[in-house]
Amino acid sequence: MSEHVLEPGPDRRGFINWFLGTSAVAFVLSVVYPVLGYLVPPRVGESTSGTVTLSLKPDDVKPNTGQIFKFGSRPGILIRTASGELRAFSAVCTHLNCTVQYRPDLSEIWCACHNGHYDLNGKNVAGPPPRPLDTFVVNVRGAQIVVSKSA
């Protein structure tokens, strides 16, 4: 580059064009970079605690029903099977993130958005869901229900 700069004549125009062009690119980048950075949402610390004590009491969940609970920032579903056993899963449908519900008429977990069905082990049995629901561990300590992520 430097010998072009030193030569007089039409190369001077070339240098000016190169200089202006580079400056223009640098200017655009220096505007676009912070704007793009601004658009990307910052990471907010998610509650990493893998264990949640529910506000629900064991008696609140009747056999063959289900309840949504807060597991960190996402919903979970607590189910009491017809035989009386408590089970908990992530309530986030593995298809497209809708929140699932318990269907007493089918004894299945069901997603209303695209008609996805899961059995009571969280396994996807019909409809579009590609994977089973994440399973949580349920512990009943006296009148408290404690749900934790399986290790």
Partner: protein, 365 residues
């Protein structure tokens, strides 16, 4: 025949010397509309434009009461509907005109497709029109969330998750769109900004290009009519065609008012992230054919997840539609192009069939 020089008053002369009204008048008088049996389709673009103007006007009015946050959005719309004089009317007209605009836009698109008006030199008119369709769907998708009700919340969860499912950049694009990993108040604020600032600014710029090109190339005469020797006569745009346009616009306004009065926009229940998705949840009707297709796809197709396959297929379909002016070589050469007529009809039938299925097939099996 040269029209007689119109007589003008002093104000007109004064303005003409400063702004150049004479040139504008000449431009307006130059535009002519061919008259032939497919002429009815020429009104659809203008109708869409009229409804867009209605959207901008009612949208500005809604801005005066709406509050874009998860805590206040639902309540502010409730207040608007219940307390503000004619608040229900403005919101209902906004909601209905949005639907009618998408409808006329689709009819406009398919009439242009079937009458092959996309052929050279109008390829860029077609591309800008397709981009405007994308923007209109973006308007619909972002606007749907703003009342922050249950249906909108889950529709947005699904819609943004579809973005995230796109291989490669999906995860990043989903986060960018949602303003985080979940649909939250941050998403609402972001959608609001997109809906009232980014999309309108982009739409006005693209609309300018689209209208400029329509003006530059004049109205396309369908190849079938051209082969029969062209349109038998023309009518001036000002005033003959414009007056017909206005009759259509006033009728549309009457229809809008009637729809808004008899079927006002609903609000439903406030969104709660910790309630299950309600049964019977559905998106706006113009997304219904895609929504219904996603329901029918199995969980895995050829080793990839069903919804990813579906999204890829719709993406390719959209790309194909966009590139039709380049792909349809026969029409470009001035030959009849049966294949692309049938492709157009197949797309229309597919969309209509799956939309109907979306409203009639049982949601719960």
């Amino acid at each position: 025949m040269e029209p007689a020089e119109p007589r003008h008053g002093r104000l007109w002369m004064w303005l003409d010397q400063r702004v150049g009204l004479k040139d504008l008048e000449k431009l307006a008088r130059k535009k002519e509309i061919p008259v032939h049996r497919h002429g009815i389709w020429y009104y659809l673009g203008g109708m869409t434009l009229f409804l867009f103007i209605v959207q901008v006007s009612t949208g500005i009015l809604l801005l005066l009461y709406y509050r874009p946050s998860a805590e206040e959005a639902f309540e502010s719309v409730q207040f608007l509907m219940a307390e503000v004089q004619f608040g229900w009317l403005v919101r209902s007209v906004h909601s209905w005109a949005a639907n009618l605009m998408i409808l006329t836009l689709f009819v406009h698109l398919f009439s242009v497709l079937l009458l092959k008006a996309y052929r050279p030199p109008r390829e860029i008119t077609w591309f800008s029109g397709m981009a405007l369709l994308g923007l209109a769907l973006g308007f619909g998708f972002t606007g749907y969330l703003l009342p922050w009700n249950e249906l909108a919340y889950f529709a947005t969860k699904v819609g943004t998750e579809i973005t995230s499912a796109v291989p490669g950049i999906g995860q990043f694009a989903g986060r960018l769109l949602r303003g985080g990993d979940e649909v939250t108040g941050a998403t609402l604020t972001r959608f609001y900004g997109i809906h009232v600032a980014i999309l309108p600014a982009t739409a006005v710029a693209l609309l300018g290009l689209h209208l400029y090109l329509v003006q530059r190339h004049g109205m396309s005469v369908p190849p079938g009519v051209e082969r029969e020797g062209g349109a038998s006569r023309v009518m001036p745009f000002v005033p003959n065609f414009l007056l017909r346009d206005i009759v259509g616009w006033l009728s549309a306004l009457a229809v809008l008012a009637a729809l808004a009065a008899y079927f006002p926009a609903e609000l439903g229940k406030k969104a709660d992230p910790f309630l299950p998705a309600p049964a019977g949840i559905k998106p706006e009707w113009y997304f219904m054919f895609m929504f219904q297709t996603l329901k029918y796809l199995p969980s895995h197709i050829l080793g990839i997840e069903g919804e990813v396959a579906g999204i890829l297929a719709f993406g390719l379909g959209g790309l194909f539609l966009l590139l039709i002016p380049i792909l349809d070589r026969r029409t470009a050469r001035g030959q009849p192009s049966r294949l692309f007529t049938w492709i157009g009809i197949a797309i229309i039938l597919y969309m209509v069939l799956f939309t109907i299925l979306g409203y009639t097939a049982s949601a719960t099996k």
